[in-house]
Symmetry: C2
Subunit: 248 residues, 2 copies
DNA sequence: CTGCTTTTATTGGTCAGACCACTGGATTGA
DNA sequence: TCAATCCAGTGGTCTGACCAATAAAAGCAG
């Protein structure tokens, strides 16, 4: 990735690199802001902006009157720190596995209010407005996640959706694929809802997996941009590799 | 959570709240830094610090010479934005489901180098040094995630580990539980490794689930702090609710 | 000497005002 | 008409100062 033109951004990268390299270790105190600023040849406000960025990423922690402490040596690969390409297929593959489990759990924990909410979202999903339809789609999956009552699961599902928005490649492919005959997804969502209504975990898991499998299939057969074709080739090779062993 | 004493932090919360409330919509440009500073009665440097925090969280985007644009109306619940308590049991429940699937997939994609790496980590896991042992533990799970070759899965597993570190409650409970007879985890990890060696997805899934199930069981029977007892009660009620329906 | 209170040096937090650098549209001139 | 130029607006950076929290040193009462 090309270095951002903004100084505080490059500074943050630079300091992060130093920490990752072990120049400053976890638990240790960094030099004072004034010293760091001079070390890097920048003003203190700019240095502070870089530190705040690193603090948001959870790498350091500034304590008033005490100093700046390293809390993590390596940045976790989260949506916030996301900086490289994750393919569209990778994302959906992950969602297929994880959201399948989330649906299974939700089948056991969902209540009537949430079922009604899902029913309402199904109606909006066919909205002529592209954005409304997409929001309804995300809403459906988030309600399922929320129905598990497990904050970690909610955070994970949301994070996966977030990764999609962060990755230009994945976003382009996925939003382009929308519209072009992806509308049968309403039927698939209905199947998921039915399984949840029946409180049948296995059926819910299968319905969710089927749904996302269809999305993958759809992407495999659509032919549009060059980027998509590359992604398709990559995905086919990958699926072949997996199939070489045994079905998951 | 008590509002952070730092002004730029409160400012960021305040602006984030305005955006979430729809005061500024996605795609729109918000007022200039100078205007925002005056609006909130703070100096421009402080205002900028708040904006940089929001930018790191992916809510806004500042473009030189143009202005500041809203990119997301709602902050995703990720490790970086994490600000409330997620119980230790929630975390492990999520890991049990997700990492189980990751292990299943990894069984089909893992290569010999990664298998050797896992073997090496097993040796370190019994290290007398608590921290070393914990690092080996995390390392093991991360190698399994990495073996899937799926960036989204890697990011997810890492994010779950991150959530644990962010949640004081979960961290306290989990690190306290370590040591006190949790060492049989080496046997459990060996089982996971065996299933991966055999490239047997079902066995890998089961071994990973068993492992994390044991961790849950261990926490349920340990009796120590008050926080842990509350968490236990919460978890028992939750598991009863789930069992009321059917096994997942 | 002990133990509490006060002072002080250090460090992050905030402020003020200025100037630089980038952007897009308005202005100008061929 | 259209391309080059200019210019107003906006984020980016700098300087230097003062405020506020912290811990350790200094002072003091017992």
């Amino acid at each position: 990735m090309a270095p951002s033109g903004k100084l505080y951004r490059r500074l943050a990268d630079s300091i992060a690199a130093e920490i990752e390299a072990g120049r400053y270790k976890v638990g240790e105190r960094l030099p004072t802001e004034r010293e760091l600023a001079e070390l890097h040849g920048v003003s203190r406000p700019t240095l502070r902006e870089a530190l705040i960025a690193l603090e948001m990423l959870g790498m350091i922690e500034a304590r008033h009157g005490l100093g700046i402490y390293v809390t993590r040596a390596q940045l976790p690969v989260t949506a916030a720190t996301y900086d490289f390409e994750i393919g569209a297929f990778e994302l959906i593959e992950a969602r297929r596995l994880f959201e399948g489990e989330a649906a299974a759990l939700a089948a056991a924990t969902i209540d009537d209010d949430q079922l009604a909410e899902l029913e309402g979202l199904l109606g909006l999903m066919a909205d002529e407005d592209e954005l409304k339809g997409e929001e309804a789609d995300k809403g459906f999956h988030m309600v399922v996640a929320r129905a598990t009552g497990n904050g970690a699961i909610i955070a994970t599902v949301e994070n996966l959706w977030e990764l999609r928005n962060r990755s230009p490649l994945a976003r382009n492919i996925l939003t382009r694929a929308r519209g072009s005959g992806l509308t049968p997804r309403i039927i698939e969502h209905t199947k998921i809802l039915d399984a949840l209504k029946a409180h049948d975990p296995a059926a819910a898991r299968q319905a969710m997996r089927d749904h996302l499998e269809r999305v993958i299939e759809h992407l495999l057969h659509a032919t549009e941009t060059e980027a998509l074709e590359r992604a398709q080739a990559e995905s086919k090779a990958r699926r072949k590799q997996i199939a070489r062993r045994v079905a998951i």
